[in-house]
Symmetry: C2
Subunit: 388 residues, 2 copies
């Protein structure tokens, strides 16, 4: 319990932008998020009052951190499962719990469980040898998709493999791998839901995610022209995963919409997710507030849309164009003049090329117009050009 | 400039809920608000990373604080004007500047200036003796309203005086006073605008404020059934004050709507204001973000409504009812179940009777329904009863 406010203390392991935005939402609820960050310059550490500097791979650091928390939750999936189990055994409340979180940490465990639940995955197999990959190629066609079982994100740990020969360096690295068919895609979708320990579930409208180079660059909510039966199916899948895996907090289920209209589960994340940033302005309850409500076992907030359509675009810092304003501050200034209705979210990071330094959101009625504004504003922030 | 982000640093003097919510908005802009707070338990000090403990009445504390700020602004009007002038003379950027701020600190200076600008005030006079009050009573009718020239807020420093005899203790206290006619009211309005150093001005829709015991308890936006000409006039008055007084940041102009439809200026505040909390969810740009944009001299954000109607209600902690949940946390839990669409904002304060500990906001189409929900939810949070 917080000594000054008398409210329970939520601690988040990881000091990235998800923790930063969770702290922002915590302020509304009378809370002050406690953050375990690797560095005082981490995105969340720059803005939170109650910051502990430590390593998420160190049990000692985790336990010191957990001692002043009523509940511990996560900004990422990289905390070793054995540490989480030890925290729980020591009497700490950790949400989502280790049995749920395993399925966001270990893609093989996730695929096995989805199969058991009868939920749709691409064809997949564990990779013990090159033969497993060759068999998938022969059955489902080349190329195939090879994934690291643990530790991948934002396109890392995922490889499109066109022949058995391409697999050699991966096999040689000793990384645990699995192989999946490459699904013929119409598009990618993301279903965001939340679940409380009490068992209450709440879903936001399904969003479309647009990827480039394996990284999500745009999110459109609600997913344009999604038939009702697909939307219901996507929600049903996500709420089933949340219930059956006993997830607490926000759960993002990334889905493939196959060209024939079938939905297949791509990935799970058990925390606020990049595909849900649109909820900050676009829904009555943001994913960050909802995650807090869930781990605090408060009743969940209303998930209705606050506008007919929302487009968000990620800001991936690029090489500054010649003559473009180098300082992010200057770019922000020009952006605000050119796009007064676009909402900019900066994560407190220096714009080094390749870094995800923020996102922008546009809300309104005409999705194509919103997309144009959001992507143009994000591109301008990323490079300092393209304002015309 | 912030050593880690390279963005300019905004410092706010005062650690109350306005600074707390300004920090929350700052996070979005990549900022981290620097706060001068009297205590580490102040509302903003509980959530901000960069907190300096000091007194706003100490020039030394102010100067130490200002040294690491690119711009200094305020959560309240209580910083002595001579300290602000000294900071400016020492080369610090202080916004709003002392010449503007004087008119939010000194009601007599404000009335004189409004008269000079031809802007409408109630009939008023400085009080040098009981005779000045008697004259106002004779001219405008009893009772009259006597105000402390400096230091009043939330109903403090304002007295309704029914006869010269009632004035005696006030005169004896030595407080500088002025007297105003008591205006026959239809209702009170608040016009919120922002202005940047560049001279850009932006107005939000005019809101109605509902008072009880001199304290604002409800805010309705836009003010229901306000004729267009009155709304335009209210905006014109506020933008004129902002321009002529060279205000930078948010300016709230509290207005009386007289029974005959005339508008009269009641008070000025040059900072985010209680009557503008509805803008957090209810407008595309909140007053807190706009205040930051203004003092940073960024272009101002769009001020359109995000819903047709918004009702906010302040949470003034009361005596807990017998059998009611004593812990705010429990009350929040029940509130969230009963009113899932109401947005609760808590300020991190213990619910001691009489304290303003938060506010709630309801958005939608039917203002009467929104008012009912907002006031019921606020009353429940305040006392732990009345959920049915």
């Amino acid at each position: 319990m917080h000594p000054s406010t008398g409210l329970p203390v939520v601690g988040m392991v990881g000091g990235g932008q998800l923790a930063r935005m969770t702290h922002q939402a915590a302020i509304t609820l009378g809370q002050s998020l406690r953050v375990l960050a690797a560095s005082p310059d981490d995105s969340a550490a720059l803005v939170a009052r109650d910051v502990v500097i430590g390593e998420h791979t160190s049990y000692a650091d985790l336990e010191t951190f957990a001692k002043a928390c009523d509940v511990v939750t996560f900004d990422h999936e990289h905390v070793p499962g054995e540490h989480i189990r030890r925290l729980v055994a020591a009497g700490h409340t950790v949400l989502p719990g280790p049995d749920a979180l395993l399925h966001a940490q270990d893609k093989q465990a996730m695929r096995i469980r989805l199969d058991e639940l009868g939920l749709p995955s691409p064809r997949w197999a564990p990779v013990r040898s090159a033969g497993d990959v060759a068999r998938m190629g022969a059955d489902a066609g080349w190329p195939v998709v090879v994934k690291a079982v643990r530790g991948g994100y934002d396109g890392r740990g995922v490889w499109t493999v066109h022949s058995p020969a391409e697999l050699e360096p991966l096999l040689a690295s000793g990384t645990r791998l699995l192989v999946e068919e490459r699904v013929p895609l119409r598009r990618e979708l993301s279903t965001l839901v939340a679940r409380s320990p009490h068992g209450q579930g709440a879903a936001w409208p399904v969003a479309e995610t647009v990827q480039a180079g394996g990284v999500c660059v745009e999110v459109l909510a609600p997913a344009p022209a999604l038939p009702d039966d697909l939307a219901e199916n996507a929600e049903r899948i996500a709420l089933t995963v949340a219930r059956e895996l006993d997830v607490v907090g926000v759960l993002a289920v990334e889905l493939f919409e196959r060209t024939d209209g079938e939905l297949l589960v791509n990935e799970l994340a058990m925390r606020p997710h990049n595909s849900g940033h649109w909820t900050i302005e676009g829904s009555r309850t943001s994913q960050f507030e909802q995650h807090l409500r869930a781990v605090l076992d408060y009743p969940l907030g209303a998930t209705g849309m606050a506008a007919a359509a929302v487009a968000t675009a990620n800001v991936l810092a690029g090489e500054p164009a010649p003559g473009a304003p180098e300082r992010l501050d200057e770019r922000l200034h020009h952006l605000a003049a050119r796009w007064p209705a676009v909402k900019v979210h900066l994560y407190g990071k220096q714009p080094r090329p390749g870094r995800k330094i923020g996102h922008v959101t546009a809300l309104g009625d005409d999705l194509e117009e919103l997309r144009r504004d959001a992507t143009a504003a994000a591109a301008y922030l990323a490079t300092g050009t393209g304002q015309e």
